[in-house]
């Protein structure tokens, strides 16, 4: 069961696969365990030297991380194997007492998932910034390029391609802001078996705060073992840009259609028709976006988490969060690739305008574009 199941290429990215590699999940759990031991010392519960010994034991390399994870469904949790591993590295003296002290499996797993989610959000943000820069360039370059607006796929009134690109850029920038906000709100999980932190006595709050400080995550008001609203917010922060990217990809495919041809996208080939221009990057973005939405539903449509620990509704997150982020990163990579290779056909656009058509950029459109550029400068900055 330790073999990673096969998957069709292109539904993830190399960067995101690295974030969610089994070794990385185990490493993140050990990072939690190390930080917990040190936090126990910070809070005056554990002797500093023993805490340091635990932390050091957590930082030694793990030979077969997938084997650790594979114990989940035998033992009920991968933490038993992990705790044994760490404990075996320590002298049979006091330090062992502080391994996983007062914690429950969910504390380690949820915190590890949040640590990986943080790295994953950075990958998504980078992709969104790449897309933002490309859309910004399109907006500026084609600011006044006249183009027919199309409502319900019918010619409506003239607009400009710059305005269209600005309309793609603005929600993208707001998704960047939300991704950043989501990252800043990631919290540690620490509650012990039933969220009561009993073993820490009056030092409990200090332990949580120290743990959060060490891991640079938020300290939550309460353990959130079965309050998954934090996870929903994370999922929503990922779904937003994916839906927007999906809209942009579809628009690109529509504008590249035979008979419309206002732009050209990088062309995939056909196994039967030479010269056919298949919009392969938008297609990849659309395909991976459908996958991403299904992954999100695994979490957000799961049944309620029962009492003090969800039966399955929790465990599905171990599987669905990686898929959610992997497919999302594929969506954004594909859209970025498409935007990078986009060719605009200004003549084709202009040719469709009615003869009596307006000249120049409507002033509202200019104002709109300026406002989006301003938002771009604020969010993406001059880098």
């Amino acid at each position: 069961m330790t073999e990673a199941p096969a998957s069709f290429p292109g539904f993830s990215t190399a960067e995101m696969d690295e974030v969610w590699a089994p070794a990385n999940l185990v490493a993140a759990m050990l990072e939690f365990e190390a930080a917990l031991a040190l936090a126990l010392a910070d809070a005056g519960l554990a002797p500093r030297a023993e805490a340091e010994a635990v932390a050091a034991a957590c930082r030694e390399p793990v030979e077969d991380p997938e084997a650790i994870l594979a114990t989940t469904w035998e033992a009920g949790t991968p933490l038993i194997a992990l705790v044994e591993l760490v404990t075996a590295r320590l002298e049979p003296d006091g330090a062992r007492h502080w391994v996983h002290h007062g914690a429950t499996s969910q504390d380690a797993i949820d915190t590890a998932l949040m640590l990986n989610a943080r790295a994953a959000l950075v990958v998504l943000e980078d992709s969104l910034l790449r897309i933002s820069r490309l859309l910004h360039a399109l907006t500026e370059t084609h600011r006044s390029q006249p183009e027919m607006g199309r409502t319900f796929l019918q010619h409506a009134r003239p607009t400009t391609f710059g305005r269209r690109a600005a309309g793609w850029l603005e929600p993208t920038l707001r998704h960047v802001q939300r991704i950043r906000e989501a990252r800043s709100q990631l919290a540690v999980q620490l509650g012990g078996p039933v969220g009561s932190l009993t073993d820490y006595g009056p030092a409990a709050h200090r332990v949580v705060t120290a743990l959060a400080d060490r891991l640079e995550l938020q300290a939550p008001t309460l353990p959130w073992h079965t309050d998954r609203s934090r996870i929903w917010a994370l999922v929503e922060a990922v779904e937003g840009p994916v839906r927007t990217a999906s809209k942009i990809a579809m628009d690109l495919a529509l504008l590249a259609q035979s008979g419309i041809e206002e732009l050209r996208v990088r062309s995939g080939k056909s196994s039967s028709m030479l010269g056919k221009r298949n919009p392969i990057d938008p297609i990849r973005a659309l395909a991976t976006a459908e996958a991403c939405r299904g992954a999100a539903a695994m979490i957000t449509r799961a049944k309620p988490h029962e009492l003090d620990r969800g039966l399955g509704s929790w465990h599905v997150e171990f599987y669905a969060l990686p898929i959610l982020f992997q497919t999302a990163s594929a969506v954004l990579e594909a859209l970025g690739d498409s935007l990078e290779t986009l060719e605009i056909d200004g003549e084709a656009m202009a040719a469709k305008l009615p003869a009596e058509s307006e000249e120049g950029l409507p002033s509202a459109t200019a104002t709109h574009i300026d406002a989006v550029i301003e938002l771009f400068d604020e969010v993406v900055g001059g880098d």
Copy 2:
């Protein structure tokens, strides 16, 4: 087609049905049209007297609002009938020129939906506040009532019922905050046919701002005809409390089980077994929550909105937003009803604790409860 389709009772509330009544949707569209005319005057485009005449015509009662809406699928939009109605009320002079001036159907419909959503969010907030107060009382009253924690439905370690209630209260309070935030972020829609506001010339920005001021909605950076991220955020703000309420309802049903019986909920009857105690309010909350999640998916799983106007992905919102809010209000009403009639059996709780069990409230739990009470005071206040 003007007949409201039949629906099983209990999947909405009277308050929410009122918000989403057809008459109210037409009224909101007319409120948009009135405010638009006045905004055109504010921005110096329309003569004040003519704008006032339009606004007055918009405020006269509409005889058959459902007939207006029913034209949607004949004419393609209900706005043609609505504009004709208003226009017919005006002298055939200048004022008519300013009716729906420079706007597109989606401007009126989206803005009307946002006006109704604002009222709907108030209804949900009130329900959440009711639930918060009930949970607050449970938390305080049973602060130290010992109870076994249950993870994976198995006895784990002792906690208190007050801590359990605090664990329900905290996410509820954060949902109140998010509902308020969602309300404050609702924006007007105004773009004209393709979002370019062409007809207003350099006054366009002033028109949008004046309209937003008059309707007490936000002025968006851009028209958002096919950027539905604002709608997704609204849906998410509604889904969050529904998922949490669903978790609380399931917990109540689990704790009320025959053989557990740590609490009693108001009892529905059985058509075949006198004396059986069916947890009818939690059942209603769970049923309506399943419905609400399906309604949310109508919007969030819809295909991308194409170019400058979505084909169907937009129109489904006319139907799904009301259902989303109606079912959500039913969830919260049912949960409130259940909490209001809840009876806690402290003895049954205490009887399950292991003999050697702890004495009194763990200090971390006390701190947790205090923190949640503090959040309650902040969010709900002393009223």
Copy 3:
């Protein structure tokens, strides 16, 4: 709570609203109760005269059916009120004993829903037959009309419009077959409180069979209170044609696009642009299809039905089944309306073919079309 919640017009049809009217649901429950009493007589349990008296009492008109349904969330089930209503119509003698005898609420409600579903499937079948006839005519008329095939929205190779229409027709015909099969598989529900039919003793099987015969539904192997696979099959039979209709509607909108214009659909108007041709029927089909898929998910994504009666997962069906069928009927009505008013522009189609293009219908295409026509004759017949 008895007021039907408001709903945007066009997301149902008059025929389907009638099927799912509250009065009709109550009538169907009474039809169950009447048939049950008679089946008890058929099986030799109840005296024939008393059974006839019960059946007669069930057939008297109900003054306020919505009030009956509205008791659901007070009493826990509408059956208590319904049984009281029927009982009150009988002399206080033996006949009363046989009202709802040995049954549980879910028996009456599930069977009533199946009776209504049967009527609803007929409505859908009629709509599918209408669509089939229209597609059949298109297939025959434009059998050899050359048209460019479009893969990934790019010109690929020539096909004919008749072949395209045949590709729409074939799955439609198979959906007709499945709808018929689904109708023939609808089963009565009869199990008593926990599915053991205890009260009927050795006559139990005879009662179930007689009930099924009287209602012209299947007699299931077991009561299916918490085995909802029958409901899932029903939902799937409805979702299939909706997905196909959605594909056809999107294809129509794509072929009607400005710049493609190979066909014209009935045109909705624009509130701002005279002369714009909005594909309003395909739009309605697409919008209602999104709604229908959300309604399906209310049922198919609900949490497992617990032990001998689902908490909420069952009750959501009372609400979602009507919506599922209503929105499905709207999808099919809209598609039918669009096909009925479709105009094909053969010249526009032909103009896009490459100069060196083939002449005449490829023989495989002719064979394909013939095979679909043959299937049409089999499924739709000569009527």
Copy 4:
């Protein structure tokens, strides 16, 4: 991009990973290409010797199958690389002409997916048969073991555990039947670029039939490039047993609850509480079932497949079908594991019956059980 993305263990099975391994997908595409060449000979189009040469070239091992698949998003389809690979193995003479002759990429990919789906359905059927045998044994062994029925989680009336198990068994058996039916309905895909099979002339129908015969798949009436109703039926055949397994798993967890304890499941351990009995197999079944439902939605909630080839809606199937089957197989494995290790506590069951309770098995229940056993004998047979 050829690296299989990491995945948490336990959400698939070894057998299913093998079915969907990249090498196996490439092998299945080559099986299609081999069978196509031979079918061209069968139909009298290709010289037999040349067709045999192509088939032989298709059967040589592929060194790096993942590299082939990875070309999908560069080239637009993996078929170009695959066809080059096969062609390079042939003398530059006539045989090359028949490689992928008249076919389009989707022909090869869809047929390959169906070949793999057939193997995958066998794996699921085997798991369902294992579950059926275990449920059959439970039904027989505990046929008359009295147990309280539980509706809405409240004691209702007595039933027997054998009846409960029969209620789990019956839908399982019907899912076996449906899985078999789904397998028998899998069809080849062959249409060429736009589904017109132009290149085969009047032999087209013979080619399709011969291909279907060789691959032991059905010959469809029409190519189904954008009619995905076959795929939906496949997905539904997989979702059904998963939903039922999910219900059984939840029931097991509910009956194993502390305070109910009518049965014991194999126990996972706790990282913090020795001796706690976590129902780890039901948990795994529930978690993987949530994942499976999300995977199904990737396909069934995808946007319509546009005209002659879906943009992304098709491609997502390459990713989602494997996940669907993998997670489904995990659900069934986990449920089988749980049933295999189940211990029934007859005394705990009996102790809950009311004092005045019935004696022996109600006759209807006996009849029910007999009917299910009969169905078992029919479906599973005496093996």
